[in-house]
């Protein structure tokens, strides 16, 4: 199974080793080994049901919240297996944050949404700075700085999504996992999210699941193509979209199926 060697491009932020995921008897991920290079955007693409979201959730133990899900194999973060007994999944999810398809702001003020995470970890004296920095990084500050006390639910869809990103950033993660972050947004909001991703990757490692191939082509450095739980091809994005090695990948990216 072709896998890029990350040693050619800096160290790996995350690494999976023969990861399998079963939902009850059904095997959703069939032994995937791959590395996510640091400070790069990796896109996971593939037809519906191929397991890309399931794989994404392996990276920060979100599958723990699915009762019938069983994960085997290793997911290494900073050389440590995230699924080892002594590892605290909550801490995992702080360091490896997640943004979902449907923006899910809390029914609180904009400020309180972003401050929620930091407050859980104590009462930092510089909370205002933390909130501002997170909103700046999420390219939302200018739009909301004069109404931080307003309800987050009053924001547009695109703004809510950026608020969710700010919320994830407020607890200083190293990796951001994004599950179809722009699918529920209009084209302009989508473009803003994509632009934001390009800015964020300077400081964070980003893994994005998308069913939109053009989006994967636009934002990612590397693209992994999954099909029915298997990693078919994983390479530099240019290669996947101009001259993929596997016929299966070629058929998918040219729209012959899926």
């Amino acid at each position: 199974m072709p896998t890029i060697r990350v040693s050619a491009d800096g160290d790996a932020a995350l690494e999976t080793r023969d990861v399998h995921v079963h939902y009850g008897d059904a095997e959703a991920i069939k032994g995937i080994t791959m590395e996510i290079p640091r400070n790069r955007v990796v896109a996971l693409i593939g037809p519906s049901g191929c397991g890309k979201s399931t794989l994404l959730r392996c990276f920060n133990r979100m599958n723990d919240l699915v009762p019938i899900a069983k994960v085997t194999g290793e997911v290494l973060f900073r050389g440590e297996n995230l699924y080892a007994d002594h590892v605290d999944p909550v801490e995992v999810r702080r360091r490896i944050g997640m943004v979902f398809q449907k923006p899910n702001p809390f029914p609180k003020s904009i400020y309180d949404n972003v401050a929620f995470g930091p407050r859980l970890y104590g009462r930092p004296s510089d909370l205002d700075d933390i909130v501002e920095r997170a909103l700046q990084q999420a390219a939302l500050w200018d739009e909301v700085k004069d109404r931080l006390g307003h309800s987050a639910l009053g924001l547009s869809g695109g703004q809510q999504q950026r608020l969710c990103i700010a919320r994830a950033l407020a607890v200083t993660p190293e990796v951001l996992l994004m599950d179809e972050p722009a699918s529920a947004l209009d084209p302009i909001a989508t473009a803003k999210i994509e632009e934001l991703i390009q800015q964020l990757v300077e400081h964070y490692t980003i893994v994005i699941v998308t069913h939109n191939m053009q989006q994967a082509a636009r934002v990612s450095h590397y693209t992994a193509y999954l099909y029915i739980g298997e990693l078919i091809e994983y390479d530099v994005t240019d290669t996947i979209f101009t001259a993929p090695n596997e016929k299966h990948t070629e058929d998918y990216v040219t729209g012959r199926f899926g």
Partner: protein, 220 residues
């Protein structure tokens, strides 16, 4: 798109054939017909370009589709130039119709055969997606360059020996030069086929050298 390109290729081949026939027979009328038909090739190029841009905008082709589309644009451009060279040859035919004949055309016939064959094979390689056939076309380009050199030398000698033959000999040299350019374009086409099939860019290094050489010789 493929069909448009094939139509264009077949017209270009025909134009070259007809122009060369007019040269052989010193047929000014046939030459004039050739010249007038060139616009058909130009129109096809415009149509292909327009369709290609639309396809890019609407369908965002990927992988082989993308390489094929980009190469189709390049090939149509090359075929249009083949058409232009055919027109040049036809113009030589017109001038030859009024000039004194040249006794020995040396390797010009062979050169014409090889060049037209290269064009035909490059197009066949495109139709069949045959990278090996495309490579063979590239390999034959050197032979055409050699014929070109030989025609030049023979015609120069003829001009020196027989001043009355100068006009005709010059036309022959021009025909040879246009055939050399057609062979080069066939090589470009072949390289594009290799790109479509193998996603590999192959550059024909001798191309630049022979062009400079041909320019240099003509200035003598």
């Amino acid at each position: 798109m493929r069909e448009l390109l094939l139509r264009m290729a077949s017209k270009a081949e025909e134009q070259v054939r007809d122009a060369l026939g007019a040269v052989k027979r010193r047929d000014a009328q046939a030459a004039q017909h050739s010249i007038e038909r060139d616009h058909e090739i130009d129109e096809l190029e415009l149509e292909i370009e327009e369709r290609a841009i639309n396809l890019l905008a609407r369908r965002q082709p990927m992988a082989t589709d993308l390489r094929t589309l980009v190469s189709t644009l390049k090939i149509s451009n090359d075929l249009e130039r083949v058409g232009d060279h055919a027109v040049n040859i036809a113009q030589c035919a017109k001038r030859l119709a009024e000039a004194l004949p040249v006794p020995d055309v040396g390797d010009l016939d062979s050169m014409a055969d090889v060049s037209t064959e290269m064009l035909r094979e490059a197009i066949a390689a495109f139709i069949q997606r045959d990278a090996e056939l495309a490579r063979e076309v590239c390999r034959r380009d050197d032979q055409v360059d050699r014929y070109n050199d030989s025609v030049f030398r023979v015609m120069l000698a003829e001009m020196a020996r027989n001043p009355g033959a100068i006009v005709a000999a010059l036309q022959m040299m021009l025909v040879a030069r246009n055939l050399e350019r057609i062979a080069d374009l066939a090589t470009n086409l072949a390289e594009d086929v290799i790109y479509i099939v193998e996603a590999r860019t192959v550059k024909h290094h001798a191309e630049d050298a022979s062009y400079r050489e041909a320019e240099g010789e003509f200035d003598q």
